[in-house]
């Protein structure tokens, strides 16, 4: 496992989340509607950030499967806010790539009836920052 201190601190800073508050109950992942689409699940995001194991998250499609529904934030008994961690990793990935991928004219191409609206909204927000 690779410990990337710089990225770890960056993600903790952006998200404002203290991953050491997590007690590994798994309620976030029990609640997550996008679970089956994700390679890394909400509790793993928290855990891997806590361990500084960031690269696999940055390169994982899971980042874009999260619906930002915030169910995990609502249910977490320890107030960890996993969705914010996912979001912070996503931001880090985008900043690393230094590009704004999603533009309005790309939407028709990628959208189909299964694409949740929240995903588009949050993708826009992130991609154009």
């Amino acid at each position: 496992m690779h410990n990337n201190k710089y990225l770890q601190e960056e993600i903790i800073r952006i998200s404002g989340v203290n991953p050491s508050k997590c007690m590994r109950c798994g309620k976030c992942s029990a609640t997550c509607p996008a679970y089956d689409e994700m390679e890394y699940h909400p509790h793993q995001f928290v855990n891997m950030v806590e361990c500084g194991d960031i690269e696999p998250l940055l390169n994982s499609k899971s980042l874009y499967k999260c619906l930002s529904c915030f169910a995990c934030i609502d249910r977490c008994p320890r107030g960890v806010q996993p969705a914010k961690v996912v979001e912070a990793v996503r931001l880090t990935a985008i900043r690393k790539q230094g590009a704004n991928h999603l533009t309005a004219d790309m939407v028709p191409e990628i959208v189909d009836e299964d694409t949740p609206q929240q995903l588009l909204v949050s993708a826009f927000r992130k991609y154009t920052k």
Partner: protein, 664 residues
């Protein structure tokens, strides 16, 4: 002028490591009043104490300053030494040069300088000390136990066994508490009623014990050994001494659809009721909010069918005043409300229940006569999901749930799961856990049996949501070890709800001036060394009101509390603390500022005659402190605008002398 002896302790290297003890005893030699100064390795040892006694004799000492650890550690020790040497014990002052000096400083120079200053302050104070003699107060040889669960029952039985009279005040119509509602009990699986009800009968038959059921404590005054308590006996509209508990009234009452609190609302009871067959006292109670006679003056059936003539619709609440030497709090706990936990659909489906409801569902005297049936349709459930830690172990600022582990739920969930598999082997039983916490004698073995012998499926993970769909409960959960999200179609979901202290505990604590933690559990005087005493003298703690506990732990604590009470009641007189407030009547203007701040109600006012300079007499209202009630907190001394109130042993003059010595 006093003749002061100074004794500087090394505390091994604890003090001598950062404080030059030789320099300290040398420097303090020249302080006013000091006639002898020395240092030694362990002042508290026998040799150290002998050294003090010797010096008192040789140098005719009238005051002693020990520069050592915190007075909380050894003030009592050195006071005893002084007394043994013929000095008044209150002529001893401690300069704390360990906790407040050597332990916080790293540098020998600063440490030594500060130790000298602290020593000077103590010398300045002891020069103004006067001998104090503690007062004595008698002990009322009767105990009060508030709460009649297993904790209160055990404490009362043990106190009565030692020969002292005990009163139990229980707010419900019967004693027994939560244990009366349980089915079987871990870890041995004996039936709760079989081991509890004989104890309840013992209580009822014990001549030394009086039970005030359906009653509450409304007022407490006084102090250790001498409490005065008002007990409100709520009107139950049935004469307790006449009712035989035959139940004829219960059978005939037409108002039959009142949710039965003993079965947690899972079935109904009439307006007149006896909570359960073995209730103690076995006396009927009329629910005034449900009885048609009491509400509208129509009905009166129970009075007609009662052969004993026990019904009395005109009964009033009764207030009883009694004196006690000691008070034991045993108010227990309750499961928290599940209203805020929408994700588990507790309020949407009757088949999502709490563990206490599960106890009633499996209890032979419960709403389904002990058959495990779904509350919604009375069918036998084939798949049951148990969820642990519901509302326990949450973050401290969580808007729902508690920060602590409720301690008993891992074990009772294992019990429920095991008993279900034992009685209904065709049932699939899942337990979702974060951790399985089963320390305790034969506890982990018990949990492992549930898994290995009874085939309960323990899954490391949590349930995220429960959605009622048709006659199923769709359970979505995580399995962290398989790294999977699970979807289970369950027939019944059982929530191990966190437990919390009874809601009445907080106002009761205020009445008793007993302290509580932020979760409203009563605080013990010392978490390790004085676990069954409250910091308020004469108030003791028993059972789950002090923290989550199972029955074995509750009973041991209940016995421990009883032995402390017996130790107190066995005394004929109590020695008080002489460091109490007293008011200078010539300066007091009777403004009431002090009485308003005194947390113990120690101050009263009296009208006194005073001779004026012109030889006339004048009657003035002045404060007077009851030294037996005063705890010496000092609040009044700072509240008094005329400087009339002072604390013996901590007089304003003495404190100022210390400050002066430090600032010199």
């Amino acid at each position: 002028m006093q003749r002061v002896g100074v004794f500087v302790c090394w505390c091994g290297s604890n003090i001598a490591g950062t404080v030059d003890v030789e320099a300290v005893s040398e420097a303090l030699k020249s302080e006013p009043g000091v006639v002898f100064s020395t240092n030694y390795q362990y002042m508290c040892s026998q040799a150290g104490q002998d050294m003090i006694k010797q010096a008192v004799k040789e140098h005719n000492l009238t005051g002693i300053v020990v520069c050592s650890c915190s007075p909380r550690m050894h003030e009592a020790t050195f006071r005893k030494t002084a007394a043994a040497a013929g000095l008044n014990p209150y002529m001893v002052e401690i300069a704390n040069i360990r906790e407040q000096c050597s332990w916080v400083h790293k540098d020998m120079l600063t440490g030594t300088e500060k130790a000298i200053i602290l020593g000077k302050a103590a010398i300045a104070k002891v020069n103004l000390n006067a001998p104090l003699i503690p007062g004595e107060s008698p002990v009322t040889k009767r105990a009060l136990v508030i709460g009649g669960g297993i904790a209160g029952i055990q404490t009362a039985l043990d106190i009565a066994d030692a020969g002292f009279p005990v009163d139990i005040v229980e707010k419900k119509p019967t004693i027994g508490g939560k244990m009366a509602q349980l089915d079987k009990t871990f870890p041995t699986l004996d039936c709760a009623a079989c081991i509890l009800t004989p104890k309840m009968v013992d209580v009822a038959q014990n001549e030394k014990i009086r039970i005030f059921s359906y009653s509450e404590v409304t007022e407490v005054s006084g102090f250790v050994g001498n409490f005065e308590v008002t007990i409100k006996k709520n009107a139950r509209y049935v004469k307790e001494d006449i009712c035989t508990g035959c139940g004829a009234c219960v059978e005939k009452c037409p108002m039959k659809r009142i949710p039965n609190e003993f079965n947690l609302g899972m079935d109904n009871r009439p307006a007149i009721y006896i909570p359960f067959a073995q209730a103690v006292p076995k006396v009927a109670t009329i629910d005034p909010n449900a009885c048609n006679m009491l509400k509208n003056g129509k009905c009166g059936v129970c009075s007609k069918v009662c052969a004993a003539g026990a019904i009395d619709y005109t009964q009033k609440d009764e207030y009883i005043n009694e004196k006690y030497g000691a008070i034991v709090v045993a108010t227990g706990f309750n499961p928290i409300s599940m209203d805020k936990f929408d994700e588990f659909a507790y309020n949407q489906s009757k088949d999502v229940i709490t563990s206490l409801e599960f106890e009633r569902l499996t209890n032979a005297a419960g709403p389904s006569a002990g058959k495990l049936l779904r509350p919604s349709d009375g069918k036998h459930p084939h798949t049951i999901v148990f969820v642990q830690c519901v509302g326990s172990r949450c973050e401290s600022c969580a808007e729902k749930g508690k920060e602590y582990c409720s301690k008993i739920c891992c074990m009772y969930t294992a019990k429920h799961a095991m008993l279900t598999r034992d009685k209904y082997p065709d049932t699939e039983v899942y337990v979702f856990y974060i951790d399985v916490r089963t320390p305790g004698k034969n506890f982990d073995e018990f949990y492992r049996r549930a898994v290995e012998e009874y085939g309960v499926k323990y899954i490391k993970g949590m349930v995220g949501k429960v959605v009622p769909e048709g006659d199923k409960l769709k359970v979505q959960a995580s399995d962290l070890i398989a790294n999977k999200q699970l979807h289970i179609d369950a027939d019944l979901v059982v929530l191990a709800a966190a437990i919390e202290p009874d809601k009445s505990a907080r106002p009761l604590a205020t009445m008793l001036t007993a302290s509580m933690d932020t979760n409203d559990f009563f605080t013990e005087a010392h978490p390790k060394l004085r676990p069954v005493e409250s910091p308020t003298a004469g108030v003791f703690l028993s059972g789950a009101c002090q923290g989550p506990k199972d029955i074995p732990e509750t009973v041991s604590q209940a016995g421990a509390a009883a032995s402390k009470v017996i130790g107190l009641l066995a005394k004929d007189k109590l020695t008080g603390n002489p460091c109490v407030a007293n008011s200078n009547e010539l300066m007091c203007n009777g403004c009431s500022s002090c009485a308003n701040v005194c947390p113990y109600g120690a101050i009263t006012y009296e009208d006194k005659e005073f001779r004026m300079p012109d030889r006339t007499t004048k009657i003035r209202r002045v404060a007077s402190v009851n030294p037996a009630v005063c705890q010496g907190c000092g609040a009044c001394t700072v509240a008094c605008p005329s400087g009339a109130m002072d604390l013996k042993g901590f007089a304003n003059l003495q404190i100022m002398a210390e400050v002066d010595a430090i600032c010199k």
